[in-house]
Subunit: 419 residues, 2 copies
């Protein structure tokens, strides 16, 4: 497949370039003046091209629970609402939820996602492949210290590491240090390492959890996970609230990927404000996620970028604590690196994940294109989306997903959970 | 003029109702089953009807400066960027900026705005009337203690209190307690009181300003303004950062309108998190604003509602600190009250400011319609907008504003400011 985008304003790492983008198979071949003929020709006149956004921490399987547990703290939200609901979920529910999420992601300019899921992931891989998404998907270990449960998961999960292909890769993972036995944490990371896969885990989401880890392990969560070999450049640590300075420096030294979820942290009133500016300066790879839309309640990565930057300014009482360029990098090239894909930037040779934005009233005037993308743009501006070289939305028309059917299915299945 | 919206999911104060809305002239006449014939018939099938959002603190005249001063603290942002730029603004620039803002507001479901402007407002009233917006507009006094300047403004401003009509009303106002002499503050409020007009002023936006007021007046800003008669239910106090408990109780007793601007406060790293849950409980009328889009950088009231609610949860470490219903009230009925209009709710007899939302992927499933509006919806969902009984957007087509011309004009004039 080949795609030619004509005459767009292209946001490259070196600045904005007016020109064309030509992609072949799944790769950006040329940026500038392109004379190639292509299967798909998209008129980019008046539009801005940005790298597809990377949602580095998501739970697409939870999309049917949007609005299910409003205004509850995390422990009650999990124990009284989300976990009982999840326990009733079927594979068909998971697929319906994922499809709904993919519609929202694509319409919001998100081309890649990192999923942590409690269920077998085969059907999710299939749905994501049909939607044309890029991503990594892990089935997370979760044993609550129960040896029988750990054993059965230890048997089941290796199979999930064989799923995927193309733009979709399996990843290993565990739910969190406070919900998993040390054996499971170590073994799941070993599995990932043996297979050369990324590893996903929630770390330091709530204050309570930090006390629990301290009590059980005598160390702060980052230090504990480092001591058992879980902290490296192939691990994606979601959240990261209430980090000590020592943990930040450690995370930096290990080059760990920190998937910060600012909107969900505020909404659940759990996570404080992660010091991503310091993590970034220390050498960690900071990326951004929405978390599940049951605690967000959207999958809007534009909002996530903006809030990530603004909350740093607020936290440090410094309007220059985090620039919009940094926030865009967190949501694109850093996210791609965390997930292990050579995408996230509009450069020749990179994987072709491209989003075109229509400059609506919110994107004029254009004194500062990157500021407009990070601080002013939103899903309303996204008109065309290409993932892995394949157009999945053209002129606001989804090409891989049947929205009407997906919405009906989501409502029908969601109603079942209200009974 | 009459409008009939058929078969929408209507968000009323009492809950969601599936039915029709019939409006005549500028008023909602009936909600439920309507058999009336109307000039405009809108098919609301599958859509949700909400009251138009009220932006209770805006500077639409600044819209040409979006992205002009990124990552700067408020004092440098004002002194080095915004004020020098504003000094070069012509009336034609102000109109171009306002028109751009109105496009963004309508596309974002905002039907009313409260404007504070440093210029003569005649042309802005004209532009707002043509766009079909509802709102109050003040030309703010600003004398920096300069008696000559105060005197000349005292001559000019009364004229601006005669502008407007219909859905647009003049209001009096002063820039802030730290930029105006006491005489000007008192006289401007007297003007407002004499004419029965609302009064707009920035109060407690930055930490510095609180120290300045303390030093000059020996009182905290709310207490100072109360002592000179500025604090009542006809005053709109924008911002409100760093309030003491005593100021909150005082604001509550006076029933003052507090226009909280969460996004701009974070972005300029100035305002902390206003304790709006406490203000609301104390009896103040809390409403929400975007502030100028030079410090936001959008005019998105959906984002503002969401952030207002989420920041309270974060601030108090309580996920139930502010509910989504409260946040929606802040942005609708409370905003309308602050501006002095009997609108902001979908009820018979209220002024007809109505927004229709298309339920995109981000608004499914619908376990909790209000949560979906506040936490998940955005400008991408807004399809139709009626202000004062008049359709200003139908099926995403603006009817009162010529976007292409407005965007061109905005870019042309903005380029002039870069030279």
């Amino acid at each position: 497949m080949s795609v030619l985008i004509r005459n767009a304003a292209i946001v490259t790492p070196a600045g904005m370039v007016q020109g064309d983008i030509y992609t072949e198979a799944n790769t950006i071949v040329r940026i500038g003046k392109c004379r190639e003929r292509a299967e798909h020709v998209i008129d980019g006149t008046g539009k801005m091209a940005i790298p597809g956004l990377v949602n580095a921490h998501a739970h697409v399987a939870m999309t049917l629970f949007r609005g299910c547990g409003e205004d509850l703290p995390l422990d009650r939200w999990l124990n009284e609402r989300i976990w009982p609901l999840e326990a009733r979920q079927t594979q068909a529910d998971v697929v319906a939820a994922a499809n709904l999420a993919f519609c929202e992601m694509i319409r919001g300019g998100t081309t890649s996602f990192a999923e942590m899921c409690l269920f077998d992931t085969k059907e999710m891989f299939r749905a994501a492949a049909e939607a044309g998404m890029r991503g990594i998907i892990s089935r997370s270990f979760l044993d609550f210290g129960d040896k029988r449960r750990a054993k059965s998961q230890l048997k089941e999960i290796p199979r999930t590491l064989e799923y995927g292909g193309g733009a979709l890769r399996p990843s290993a993972g565990a739910h969190a240090p406070y919900t998993c036995s040390e054996e499971v944490l170590v073994k799941s990371k070993e599995l990932a390492r043996k297979k050369g896969l990324k590893y996903q885990i929630h770390v330091s989401e709530t204050r309570t959890e930090i006390f629990e880890v301290m009590k059980a392990r005598g160390k702060y969560p980052y230090e504990y996970l480092d001591s058992i070999g879980l902290m490296d450049a192939d691990s994606v640590f979601a959240h990261g609230g209430w980090l000590t300075k020592r943990e930040i420096l450690l995370g930096g030294r290990r080059g760990v990927n920190v998937a910060y979820c600012p909107v969900s942290s505020l909404k659940l009133a759990t996570g404080g404000i992660t010091q991503v500016a310091e993590l970034d300066a220390a050498g960690a790879n900071v990326c951004l996620g929405t978390d599940g839309c049951a605690s967000n309640n959207s999958l809007d990565m534009f909002q996530t970028m903006k809030m990530a930057a603004l909350l740093q300014k607020h936290h440090y009482w410094r309007a220059d604590a985090l620039s919009c360029r940094k926030a865009l990098d967190f949501a694109t090239v850093n996210g791609a690196r965390a997930l292990g894909f050579d995408s996230g930037a509009l450069e020749e040779g990179k994987l072709a994940d491209i989003v075109l934005l229509e400059r609506g009233p919110n994107m004029h005037p254009e004194h500062d294109p990157v500021a407009n993308v990070v601080y002013a743009a939103g899903p309303q501006n996204v008109s065309d989306v290409i993932i892995d070289g394949r157009p999945v939305m053209l002129d606001r028309e989804l090409l891989t997903l049947d929205e009407e059917r997906i919405f009906d299915e989501a409502e029908r299945r969601a109603a079942g959970f209200r009974r």
